[in-house]
Subunit: 193 residues, 2 copies
């Protein structure tokens, strides 16, 4: 998936004010190899943004792959864990619609997942007494225990991976990603033309 992203920097380099930290020649990840290939084929394109966006995509893919393993062991998919996690962290019941918004997935997907999770007795549902269209979903004790059992394991793994960066660099990274994410989310539904 990494292959696609990249982009010319806006202000461009007229004089030589280049973001010098971006390209470490000694550093060799798959993204830098891909960027090199694109530069050879399209020398006129500035590949700077590829170094960021390609890496975000690739990191996300590898992280998700790594974190899927313990979930599978517990018999959960990532999407199911996200749903249970949403219930756990909010601490109260949620409707299917709220769960869909909370987990950034479609209502139909939530319906299917709730069906399975209910069968496995990880969540329970009850109807709303005032409005009989809506349902309220809550974790069972088993569901809560499952989430609470898995979460520390995941966090421990994440901590281990991030130990590649000093705490200072971790803070920088979090801050910069927050800026980028604010921008992306600020664009709202107006993602792209």
């Amino acid at each position: 998936m990494t292959a696609t992203i990249g982009g010319p920097t806006p202000a461009d380099d007229a004089g030589g004010a280049r973001p010098r930290a971006g390209t470490d020649p000694a550093r060799s990840d798959t993204v830098s190899a891909v960027v090199r290939q694109w530069r050879a084929v399209h020398p006129q394109l500035d590949t700077g943004p590829m170094e960021i966006i390609g890496r975000i995509n690739r990191c996300a893919a590898l992280l998700q792959q790594a974190e899927d393993a313990p979930l599978r062991r517990a018999g959960l998919s990532r999407a199911e864990f996200d749903l249970l996690g949403a219930l756990r962290r909010t601490g109260h019941e949620l409707t299917p619609g709220e769960l869909a918004r909370e987990t950034f997935s479609s209502g139909a997907a939530v319906t299917k997942r709730l069906k399975q999770l209910t069968e496995r007795a990880l969540v329970e549902r009850r109807g709303d007494t005032r409005d009989r269209r809506v349902a309220h979903v809550r974790l069972t004790d088993a569901g809560r225990d499952l989430v609470d059992g898995i979460l520390p394991e995941q966090l421990a793994y994440e901590t281990a991976v991030l130990s590649a960066l000093t705490p200072d660099k971790q803070g920088d990274l979090a801050g910069r990603l927050a800026e980028l994410l604010s921008r992306l989310e600020g664009l709202g539904g107006a993602l792209r033309t």
Copy 2:
């Protein structure tokens, strides 16, 4: 991972040196809201890693969503574009197996995509003369033109998104992501216990 509904509140300010890095208090993205919820429920857990990994995942999701739109318009899925892009950037023929490795997907998926792309005359295949098991796939002129037409559009969008960060910060971000990615890829197949 997941997050709450996003009240679009522009977060700016990032000026000078912050005394403490690690946990940025007043950042308004969906991830910070989620992290706050987890902290309230599990105060003893170190939620620091979520600030980075949650944001990487969310950024990746939003970026991919945004970049899918123009691809759909061109009648391509992201996976198809990645495949064509791999052929374009390497500049020579690739076998299905090589394409699978290059695009980080399974051989079966590549087979299916090649079938469709061949029908649409975006790629061509020929058999190897020495080893009749292997095929060689290359872009047609139409396929090359399609990639070359879409790529600059994607790059322009990425540039616009990244303009939320100064060139210096972009460089920092790229560098830190490279370190993280090197670590993740260095773990090789040994992802997780």
